[in-house]
């Protein structure tokens, strides 16, 4: 009987389908990495192994500027977003007698319910109305907004999975609310907070739509710079830059996923 039972859960061809599915997922990434070592000037015709595109990428000042802008924006935006999201999560998960809990949570997660292009128009009109000119500041404000839910969700999940016992024990030992938070709550939810911050950071680094819409005078982010490279014709240097980005994102993703697994 056991054989017959497992049989009904099994579908012919499923294994092959999944192999093809993973092929589809990883083919584009593999192609970019492969051609980044291409000696030929033509982006998609193989001409032998070479590291020259990495050399020229690392000496490209415009690229390095874009990386700097992106790092600045992503660091500030993810730090602010994580702090704000942590406070909101503490209230929404732990607070007693919070009014409009459901509505408040929807408001915190609002950026998830709208396509990004709408948010980009929203901040563009806002900044043009208040006459804000400073490119990096505009980017930081806009990125902070859409990063908040991405920081909020892992923190909330972690808080929901934590028992109240430890905090109650701390309070029984006469720890004040701040001490309890610092010595008990924060260390316990730290993996969730890190995962949230990491997610917010990656989302900000990756953002194209808002950054291109704000077209922030002088402040070109990395995705916007890459887009301009693509527009000016596919060059092998682009493959090298993309491979470096893939490498960094995969490392960050592995850290974040490992943290989430622990929580």
């Amino acid at each position: 009987m056991g054989g017959a039972k497992t049989d009904v859960k099994r579908y012919p061809g499923l294994g092959l389908f999944v192999v093809l599915f993973f092929f589809y997922l990883y083919l584009p990434i593999a192609v970019v990495v492969f051609f980044s070592f291409n000696a030929s000037k033509l982006a998609s015709i193989w001409g032998g192994f070479s590291m020259r595109w990495y050399e020229s990428a690392l000496q490209n000042d415009a690229l390095l500027d874009a990386v700097k802008t992106s790092l600045t924006v992503a660091t500030v935006a993810s730090l602010v977003a994580t702090t704000v999201a942590l406070m909101a999560a503490l209230v929404l998960v732990r607070g007693k007698g919070v009014k409009f809990r459901k509505t408040s949570e929807t408001i915190v997660n609002l950026p998830l319910f709208l396509p990004e292009v709408v948010l980009a128009v929203a901040v563009l009109l806002l900044f043009s109305n208040i006459g804000l000119q400073q490119g990096v500041t505009k980017l930081i404000i806009a990125h902070t907004t859409f990063c908040i839910p991405f920081a909020f969700l892992p923190i909330r999940a972690r808080l929901q999975g934590m028992t109240l016992d430890l905090e109650e024990a701390a309070q029984d030992l006469y720890a004040g609310p701040w001490t309890t938070f610092r010595k008990v709550t924060l260390p316990t939810i730290a993996p969730g907070v890190f995962a949230g911050a990491m997610l917010a950071f990656v989302i900000s680094m990756d953002d194209f739509i808002t950054s291109v819409m704000l077209n922030a005078g002088g402040a070109t982010t990395l995705p916007v710079y890459i887009f301009s490279l693509i527009r000016s014709g596919v060059s092998p240097e682009l493959n090298a830059i993309s491979t470096l980005i893939i490498l960094v994102s995969l490392v960050l993703a592995s850290i974040a996923l490992a943290l989430q697994r622990r929580s």
Binding site: K9, L25, V91, V108, P115, L125, F208
Partner: protein
């Protein structure tokens, strides 16, 4: 436990940020969509329905209105592409998620990790990769002509199919995770029960497994449909600017074309579409609750 007032002060920054940078600006979008285009780009706060009129009509030689479906076509194409993307994502996610859910222990963890991983790679890089694959002398064109199967296939880019490939590729992880979660929660006893009652594998799939996984599929569908509706990078790079979607129509109005009120009007239409999806989803959930109650 908390300092008095933390319930208020803790939530305040998040709410304030959302109010100032999203809720009020969305109000501004609506206002701008009803205002007049400025002489040198931008807009003037003078009430006008011009932008909405422009969605349907163009002004002819003698100031008469002519029905012009060019923008309706873009809106229609956007809805169609987003819906097709959602459907394809569902069709390929379900078997993949089912397969992963059937695995045991470490292998399951690794497969799940491999499914999520590409999603972390920069969106623009992932879409760009398809340019190399589908382009003229690209991976497909190059390989096929080298093997002598098809000569001079040329570019596979700049059509709806190319955009669809990019859209599905961009958003499929958003579908697979909720679908996986719902399959994972499935009680294996139900599948066995179906089998004991002589339900074959396909009957079990469509009558038992699929209905039970519906919440996950619906969640995934919403997660995929909303960003597909607002897609910008895929139509720009893979559609080549000719096959526009609403996202790049909006972007163009605030960039090259400099017609802010019209861009705002298209953004309002997009918000309307998203809202329609949300309301349908909420109604469905409410009906479901009424059924089980």
């Amino acid at each position: 436990m908390k300092r008095p007032g933390f319930n208020f002060w803790g939530l305040l920054p998040a709410q304030l940020i959302m109010l100032l940078t999203m809720i009020i600006p969305i109000g501004i979008i609506v206002v701008v969509s009803f205002s007049t285009r400025g002489a040198y780009g931008g807009f003037d706060y003078i009430f006008s329905l011009e932008s909405y009129q422009r969605l349907l009509f163009s002004v002819g030689w003698t100031d008469e209105l002519e029905f012009n479906p060019q923008y309706l076509l873009i809106i229609g194409r956007t809805i169609l592409l987003a819906a097709t993307t959602t459907a394809i994502c569902l069709l390929i996610s379900f078997p993949a998620a089912y397969f992963i859910a059937q695995r045991q222990g470490q292998l399951k963890v690794i497969l799940l990790y491999l499914v999520t991983l590409p999603f972390w790679v920069s969106m623009i890089v992932r879409v760009y990769a398809w340019l190399i694959i589908l382009g003229k002398n690209g991976v497909i064109d190059g390989t096929l002509s080298k093997l002598g199967i098809v000569d001079n296939l040329g570019s596979l880019l700049f059509n709806n199919g190319a955009m669809l490939v990019g859209l599905v590729y961009s958003y499929v992880p958003l579908m697979i995770l909720p679908v996986y979660a719902s399959i994972e929660k499935l009680d294996p006893a139900l599948i066995e029960a179906s089998h004991d009652l002589y339900g074959g594998r396909w009957k079990t799939l469509f009558r038992v497994i699929a209905p039970l996984c519906k919440p996950g599929m619906v969640a995934g569908a919403v997660l995929v449909f909303i960003p597909s509706l607002g897609a910008v990078i895929e139509p720009m790079l893979l559609g080549g600017g000719k096959k526009m979607m609403m996202g790049n129509l909006i972007l163009n109005q605030f960039g090259m074309d400099r017609n802010w009120p019209f861009g705002a009007a298209v953004a309002v239409v997009m918000m309307g579409l998203v809202m329609a999806v949300m309301i349908l989803n909420a109604l469905r959930a409410a009906r479901k609750q009424a059924e089980t109650a």
